[in-house]
Symmetry: C3
């Protein structure tokens, strides 16, 4: 509890300096490189020959807002389940997310839309940046409660760069399809975070064990996150799929997959629960696995039945993961996975990549007709067979796992830098480390109430 | 408290088996019957001659997402007002809703869009399935806290089938108009639930009375539900009304009606409250009656004034219902209506059906011009006079009340099956029946805190 | 605590009578004056020659729903941070908002769209009414906890009228640009509320000081408000900007500005916090200043860098305002600003107006091309130079400050009317004044638990 004055002074300056330095650096890079794209710039748009209704905005904006809500409301509140870590869960989600959006704009811009010395940003950039922020927040879930904000900012710095690189290799170099990011977002974010958590392994974390669970209200707050993720996931997967049939098909597949993962989660949770009781952790997380598992395949001709089957399987695996695999992960593999991202994003993400490869291999010209061009342009143009595209999909998964693991190791070593002010083992999962905390746990407001009480009794 | 081992074993298997059986059955039926519709299928869409912007998706998707949010966030959190039943309220909303979406897709598909041996699903199917899930959750509100999850799944099984049948009779056979579902959703859902609750009457429910109220925080959670329902209701009523003028008119009428029901709710709540105090129950529920009461009429030329008048009346009746009618309902009619669905959905739903009939009877060619075709095709085509259409509307209300009541009786008898594991009278409104519950009410986390305290004092 | 029976009787009638009178009056005015506009009326729409996709609804509705969510979910929950005032914060937001929407429709209708003896309402009217309700809720933030519902309704009555007038002078008479309302909404709402709070100065407010802070859970509820405001702010600023490039550019600028204000808020909060700790009040509020500061300039060619710079500055100023300026505001200027609206809406609003004037002065034909017409029609048509338009912008700010201050004084005097039942100094920030409050603070539910306990122990 007692801190050296120097350490306190260090912390006082560390976070402000990092924030201001990062903000300053991205602002300078924005000034030099970032410009409005043709849909967003007044002169360029009006120079073109199109009706206002053709603007990308009207095809993407409602989905963008849903994705934005998922990243900040969804991931943010999902992590409020911890009893004394709600400020940090929401606050650091906010901080990491905001930084990731700026930095991802630059990284993705340099790799995807750098023309004539400039990055051109528009609706798609915003959605892509939100996707990247989503991956960062998935990794945050693995190390939640055991890392300080300065560590997390450095994690985001590294992860966004590697995310952009991995995405570039998959989508641009390998021609892999991954509209909803089973690989690029979920698998990458999960294994990056898990490997990082392994490097940061804390053998004496049991000192904070009493804060690692939820309380009644914190579980209700977490359900805000769950439900917003669940309802908006169809927008997440379809935000960048092709206009016309692509967006509704993706949304519809995701919708049905999620209903199935919900049913299988309840079934398995009751089956493995003590006295047949349901477990809130399963409902909060595993019910969402249906969205992850169709991240790659939902834009394909998966069929509504295929969506149900995939969701059902993902919900079951995820629930069993929480029950049986998470404890082993900690005891045997020394991976402390606070939110169970391995169960929600890791395994369902890999499963989603495999499902995507399977659906790709089964692609026929009959099933897609003239729509093949927008889902599998390389097959439609005769450059690849369905089988070879499927092999590329599997190769994309391997590349992702490689990037994520290497990044996690690198990130872990980076975060071990001693001046980054990691919380001690006994102060994990505790908002007081970084926040002024009022009431209920014995602070100002509580004091005031204590002072008041004698008056009432007198 | 003490349970026979056999009962526990039964429960352990009952819910998993039901979930898996239902999921398996719908999956098989999906595999056989459900196909993408022309807007969603790659080959069919690209075979047609249309621009991508014509896809139904761009006219319906934002409204669909709002409806989806209302059903899961809105209805879910609205029921969290009970102090010890938040997990169940949110969890069973999730479970029932997910199952209802799948099952409604099949039932509505067989009745509405079964062509060439297949059900064709697209944006409208998703919205219709959400509407049906909404009706199931209204019924859930009537029996909240007094039923287990297995009972609720069976209720949903029956209710979805009857909902689809009633909807088919009204919209397809009788040619009744009911865009926002004053009859098909609210009246049906409410009276189905109320009659079912009557059949399940518990004379000794006072044993759980101390859990039947709210606590401070649970009321704030419930307000999440209220406000999301309130803001998105314009989308609920307009999600399936005609393109062009139909959607904005419906949304606008609903918007104004809700402002009026809010004002009249506050007025009446303070008027009948102890010492002029406002009651959160009224604000959480009756303020929404304005959305219900224009469910039928909001697509019509109701005029903004008509919307205000209807909303004002609905808010007042609903508030008075909570104050004076709910107690009578329990004491005289033996209907225990946990959420007061009779006040929010029952009476305003019937009132909405009557308002719809009135507006229908007042329809003129002058008021609608060439727009008459899309609101009242049968009148526009000269097959019916306005008066005869109005009589059909009233007949639709009667049919709905009949289906709902018969369904409620049937459902009540079904849910009385002894192996369905209903909670005992003393354990109603209690999450512990079905959930692992941490903290605050004396479980693990609390234990940990107690252990910790001596350390702090030492 | 003891009240005279007459006072209680007065209160019992005051709020109901005000609500019903206001509702009755607006309903009558709606009946006489308000009609559907050409996009919403069946006959008028079908009389025109356009495709359904041209309807304003499809360009504005998704943004409208986001704005609606911001006003009721965002502003509502943001004010739940007070430990014992959650019912009032949410309930009065609801009441004031609903009344403001109706009354603003009339006021703005008379001033902006009164043709042929009628006000014509459609999508834009709904958005404009929501904007006005937003301003009323900003003022509510300044007097939160110190005013009763009857006082607040009268405040809304006056403020909506003056808001409409100020907006009319700026947008219609002076030709000022202010799409996201840095002046018309934020500056106006903040200074109206602050001056009003000054007139209502309570020298003995410390009697309620122990209720003026937050508790752990109330801060989490407030974050619901913060995050929904943050994610949907791009829709707020772009809801009424021009079709085509205008809406995406405005949304994009707002998005980046908010990321920057979030980073600078965290930096400054940690810098000025005790032991380098972060303060939830800053994160809840100052992180949003980026949305306010680009309210005027976001539709202009601000550039992504400009958005970052503006947001960064606004977040920093707002955080420093909470830390250093709010205490002075109370001690020296006798302005008790409950939510710190001066920091979130006042200073960033004025800054936003200045930024707007700067960007206006820098306008060139090259930067906007043919798009100049839709952002600065008077410059495009040659009626004004960029400099003279910039001077008009500054003049608009002065007019706004004048209207707001005069309105605040007038409002303060009005709210001092003794029969309006203001809460006594010792009962401020306390829900019990106006609401039936259960549990946790020693009411019914708590009683029930006490009764139960002996049974358990016996």
């Amino acid at each position: 509890m007692a801190k050296s004055p120097r350490r306190v002074a260090g912390r006082r300056l560390l976070l402000p300096l990092l924030c201001l330095f990062f903000q300053g650096a991205t602002a300078i890079l924005f000034a030099i490189f970032v410009r409005y794209d043709q849909q967003t710039d007044a002169a360029l748009w009006h120079g073109g020959n199109h009706s206002n209704a053709d603007n990308e905005f009207y095809f993407r904006y409602p989905s963008f807002q849903d994705v934005h809500a998922m990243v900040f409301v969804g991931f943010g509140f999902l992590m409020v389940f911890l009893q004394r870590y709600g400020y940090s869960s929401l606050g650091f989600t906010f901080l990491l997310g905001a930084f990731a959006l700026q930095w991802a704009t630059l990284v993705q811009g340099f790799l995807h839309s750098f023309h004539g010395g400039h990055i051109h940003v528009g609706m798609e950039s915003l959605i892509n940046a939100d996707f990247c922020a989503g991956a960062v927040l998935i990794s945050f879930g693995a190390v939640l409660g055991k890392t300080g904000p300065a560590q997390l900012l450095l994690m985001a710095l590294l992860e966004v760069a590697l995310f952009g690189l991995n995405e570039f290799v998959l989508l641009c170099l390998l021609g892999v399809r991954d509209a909803g990011g089973s690989m690029t977002i979920h698998t990458f974010g999960a294994y990056f975070g898990l490997v990082l958590s392994r490097v940061l392994y804390r053998p004496h974390l049991e000192k904070s064990q009493h804060r690692q669970g939820s309380v009644y209200h914190s579980d209700l707050f977490a359900m805000i996150g769950t439900i917003f993720l669940w309802i908006f996931w169809p927008s997440f997967n379809s935000a960048l799929t092709s206009r016309g049939d692509g967006q509704p098909r993706t949304a519809l597949n995701t919708y049905y997959s999620l209903t199935a993962s919900t049913l299988s989660t309840f079934a398995l949770s009751a089956l493995v629960g003590k006295d047949g009781r349901l477990d809130m952790v399963h409902v909060q997380n595993a019910a969402l696995a249906g969205g992850v598992v169709v991240g790659t395949a939902s834009e394909m001709m998966l069929t509504p039945f295929g969506a149900l089957a995939a969701g059902c399987l993902a919900g079951a695996i995820s629930t069993l993961g929480y029950k049986f695999f998470t404890p082993i992960l900690e005891s045997k593999l020394k991976i402390q996975d606070t939110c169970g991202v391995h169960n929600l994003h890791g395994m369902p993400g890999v499963l989603g990549a495999l499902l995507g490869a399977l659906m790709t291999g089964l692609t026929t010209h009959e099933a897609y007709g003239d729509g093949l061009q927008s889902v599998f342009p390389l097959i439609a143009e005769g450059q690849r067979s369905a089988t070879s595209q499927a092999i590329y999909q599997l190769f994309g998964l391997s590349v992702t796992l490689l990037f994520a693991s290497a990044g996690g190791v690198l990130g872990g070593l980076l975060l071990k830098l001693p001046f980054l002010d990691a919380p001690p083992d006994s102060q994990c999962y505790e908002d007081q480390m970084c926040w002024e905390v009022p009431g209920e746990h014995g602070y100002e407001a509580q004091e005031a109430l204590r002072v008041e009480e004698p008056d009432t009794e007198a």
